[in-house]
Symmetry: C2
Subunit: 284 residues, 2 copies
Amino acid sequence: MTPTTPSAGARLSLNQKTVNSCTVPQVVELCRATGIGSVGLWREPVAEYGLQPTVDLVAEAGLRVSSLCRGGWFTATGTAFDEAIASNHAAIDEAAALGAACLCLVVGGLPEGSRDLGAARDQVAKALEILVPHAAEAGVTLALEPMNPIYAADRGVLSTLGQALDLAKPYPADQVGVMVDTYHVWWDPTLQGQLQRAGSEGRLVSYQVCDWITPLPADTLLARGMMGDGHIDFATIGGWVTEAGYTGDIEVEIFNADIWAADPRSVVDTMINRYGDLCAPYAG
Amino acid sequence: MTPTTPSAGARLSLNQKTVNSCTVPQVVELCRATGIGSVGLWREPVAEYGLQPTVDLVAEAGLRVSSLCRGGWFTATGTAFDEAIASNHAAIDEAAALGAACLCLVVGGLPEGSRDLGAARDQVAKALEILVPHAAEAGVTLALEPMNPIYAADRGVLSTLGQALDLAKPYPADQVGVMVDTYHVWWDPTLQGQLQRAGSEGRLVSYQVCDWITPLPADTLLARGMMGDGHIDFATIGGWVTEAGYTGDIEVEIFNADIWAADPRSVVDTMINRYGDLCAPYAG
C-alpha cells in the first residue's frame, strides 16, 4: 500500500474541536507552526470566521481539510426535520467549498419523548435518500459516523460500523462512506471484520483517534482522552484500518474540559508526540 | 406459548440490588408483603445472612430464585485469576444450594494497565472451560451477561449478545446460557436477531429490566433508571424476548443512588406498577 503523503506523520490532522477555544485562524496558525498538514473543521467556527475567508486561509496555508463537522441530526420530527435537512444541504455546499474529504454525519438521538429506536433509524435512511443527490452533484462524500452506544439515546442512534455500512449500501461509495472514531467503536467485537468490509467496499473515508478514559467524566460528552491516557489499543485498531486500505488523514478529535482549558500549543505538541508513538507506526 | 406461571405479573422478580439497603430477610419480607414470587440474590448479602439461613428463608417463603449475582471477573491475571476461579467455584455451589435459575457472570474489564481487549476476551473463554464441568455437575447454568460498551474497559469486555452466544456455543445450553438486561443491550441493532438465536439455541436463561436515563448520572455505575423513566422501549424488546420463547422470571435490577436512598417499600410499589404497565403486557 502506498501512503498518499510522503510520511506517516504527514497524515496527522488536527480536528479543531481538540483546541476548542481557537478560532479558525488560530487553528491554521497552530498547524503551520507545528508542521501539521491537515485540519478537521467545524461549521460553527467556520461560519464565525466566514466560509470564503476560511477557504482562502486554508488554501494559502496549503492545508488539506480532512473533514467538515457536522451534518446529521436527522431524527427530529415535523418542521425540525425539515430544518435539519435544510441545514444539511448548506453543510454539503460548505464541505464542497472547503474541499473537505467528507462531511461528518452525527445522525441524532431519539426524538424528545420517543422510545422508537427503529423509527429513528429508519429516518436516517430517509434523510440520506433526500441528501445523496445533492452530495453527489457537489462531489461531497457523506460520512456516516457510528457512535458509542453511550450516546444512542441523545446523540446518535447509529451504534455500530456494521449498521453504518448497511445504511450506506444503497449508494455509491464516493457518495456515502463511513467515519471511524476509535472512541466510538473500540469495544466492538466485530470491528476487525467490519473494517475489512468498509475497506473492500471503498467506504472508509475518515479515521479519527482519541482515547476512552475511566472513570468517565461527569459530562459524558466531554469524556474523550488524549491517545495513551486511556484503554484503547491504537496499534491493533490502527493496523486493522491500514489493512483495510485506508491511506487518508488521521484526525485527532478530543472533547475534554481539561484539554480545552489547557494551552492549545501544548495540547498540539502532546498530540503530535502521542500520535508519533501510538498511531503513526501502524499507519502503513 | 404457555407462561410457566399463572399470570404475567407472577413472573416479576425483585433483584435485591434494587433495594440495596435491605438485608436478605428484609428483601424476602418485601416480596411476601407485595406478592412477588421470585427474587434475584447477590452473594455478599447472602453471605452476610448466611447461605443455609437464606436457603431456608427463601424456601419457607415459597420464593423462586431467578438468579444469583454474580460470578465472573475472569480477566484478572496471575494469582488474581486463580482467586477469581476459586470464587466462581464457590458461587456455583451457592447457586446450586439456592436453586437459582442461573449464576450471573460479569466477565470483568481490561486488566490494570492492559489494552489487549482480544486477550481479555480469550481469558473469558478459558475461564468457562475451567468452570463448566463443575457447573454441569452442580446443575447450575452459567449465564453470560453482555454489558453496555460503556463498561467495556472496567467491568465487562463482553459487549454484545451475539458475542455472548458465540462464547456459549461450545457448551450445552443447560450449562452455559445468556442473560439479557435491557440496560446493556437496548441500543444493539442486531438485538432482535440475536434474541431469536438465543431462543432457538435454548440459551436465554434470564431477562432483566431497567431503563437507560439521560443525562447519565456522574457515577455511571449507578446510571440505571426505573422502567419508564428513560428511553428504553420495553414493549418492543419484551415482545422479542417473548417471541424468543422466554417464559422465565423478569427481574428488575436497578443501580441508582436516588432509588437506593428511597423507602424500599415505595420503590417496590413503583416497580410493581411500572412492570404492570410496561413489561407484563408483552410477557406472553
